[in-house]
Symmetry: C2
């Protein structure tokens, strides 16, 4: 049996036909064009699904279901997406509208959650009894897999790990609270801290190309040994380790996989985080989660959405 | 079938015979006398188990197993308790030693974790698909139940909710980190904040009986409308709500049950926490965990340990 996985983002709709093992057989994408409204976007998702099935030389009979990962949540009571800021969606009956075009079971979950599932099936967390996936990008997304299944909680609002408060009265967050973890560990946070450091240290190479515009710039300056950038990077890895300690003290997963833009820094990022974590862990004599780089990259969304349909 | 539940604390060993529904049929207790060493304590636990079985007019054949809740964790790989600060235990083969006296399956888990199970079987969380139990005492303990089973993680080190860091670089904690949630929400924290407020406000009734020695004193002064105590209490409930938001954003349980000494303040405590929570919740249009007072009190340890054996 095959499954269609759809990765719905603010820029592109990506769809893929995926086998039982989580391998992509065929994929395609179209621009999302959010401004058209949800009905046109959902119609395109359905059409793109049919297209990848056909391109792969398969028929609907070969397909067990369609999974969708999107930057929001599904209300499991209603089958609707209550809201999705990036897409401008409000109370969208996504399952109902998909089924108007494709008569297959439709499954929907958060994009970071399906990426967590993808890594658990075919990536770095493959086979782990429980795993957490983090994406360090514009924000910080989190996904939890327990016993091979995505864990989104009783009401479908769980695994919002980026909004774990780690600094009471800290940096204001878009969610309305203060001190959320993503204010300290997203690419956005790294840029903010890089800019502050550049201003405070006119001699820093962070000032070489005008204002700091990317997380990579800060990482590269730290790699090059620039003291101001190293200080920022040291703070950043402490913040990252702090949230990881919380995750371990909370659900004690077997593995934590780190993905998203910032994770491109690879071992340069992971190594100091592992070292700090070892010192902060509560039960020092007991084993605890491995921290690894995610391996599926941009395909995680498609694969995970398809595995949602498989499960 | 019946099950023995043992609540092993630093002061007393309590044991009870419990039925399938989580009702205590018979119970007994003896002082722990920690200083005797673990072998004598474990022998007493086993003897006390046999005693409650006999007192209830049952035999070992009526008993499905023995569960133990203790202030530490079991390493599931070895069946040993790696350490237990309150008891002075280090690498104790508790299962092996218990089985020398009682030839029944022995189960061990953290005391807050078994209390969570008790509330899920016979208390306020009865029947919930997932629940979190918090005990606000000298420290803050946490237990997680998912699908009727205790969730202690991959390595048995999860659900240490009191050590969730909510204030980077905050108050130093006994665990070696800073800013752990229990530094802000335990009875100990409430006393500390009460003392600080008493010092800063000589006119406060917090100064009526010399130094503040109990959390109840602070609560009572807040109930009486003392401005300094009200300010402390307002901070305290904000700290409590902050961690609850984290719990909800993380595993989104159906219910969060609050127990432990501080919970004796009842609705006076819970009501403001609920109000603050409503404002801080991430998905405001979606349902989220109910916050309720735990109902089993001191019996939760015995009942939960027995239910560990039942499950």
């Amino acid at each position: 049996m095959y499954y269609v996985g759809i990765d719905l983002g603010g820029t592109n709709i990506k769809a893929g036909l995926v086998d039982e093992q989580g391998q992509i057989i065929e994929k395609a994408s179209v621009p999302t064009l959010v401004e058209r409204g949800h009905e046109a976007v959902i119609e395109d998702m359905a059409k793109l699904s049919l297209q990848v099935i056909e391109k792969a030389g398969k028929t609907l009979d070969d397909v067990g279901g369609v999974g969708i990962g999107l930057p929001g949540v599904l209300d499991p009571r209603t089958g609707r997406v209550p809201f999705c800021t990036n897409l401008g969606w409000h109370d969208v009956p996504v399952i109902e509208l998909m089924r108007k075009v494709i008569d297959k079971p439709i499954y929907v979950d958060n994009d970071a959650t399906v990426a967590a599932l993808a890594e658990n099936v075919a990536g770095v967390s493959a086979g782990a009894r429980s795993s957490v996936f983090l994406t360090l990008g514009t924000g910080v997304g989190g996904g939890i897999v327990i016993g091979g299944k995505v864990y989104s909680g009783s009401n479908g609002v769980g695994s919002e790990l980026g909004h774990m408060i780690v600094m009471i009265d800290g940096e204001p967050c878009t969610c309305g609270n203060r001190g959320c973890w993503e204010r300290y560990t997203s690419a956005t946070a790294l840029i903010r801290m890089g800019r502050e450091a550049a201003k405070a240290h006119p001699e820093s190479i962070l000032n070489a190309d005008g204002e700091v515009t990317g997380a990579k710039q800060v990482m590269d300056a730290a790699k090059a040994g620039d003291p101001a950038a190293c200080e920022v990077f040291d703070k950043y890895t402490t913040y990252l380790a702090t949230g990881l300690v919380n995750i371990i003290n909370f659900i004690d997963p077997e593995i934590i996989a780190i993905g998203g833009g910032v994770s491109a820094a690879g071992e340069f990022l992971i190594q100091p985080v592992r070292e700090k974590l070892a010192k902060m862990i509560f039960y020092k004599a007991m084993p605890y989660a491995r921290v690894e780089l995610a391996t599926l990259g941009n395909d995680a969304g498609i694969i995970g959405a398809a595995m949602l349909a498989r499960n």
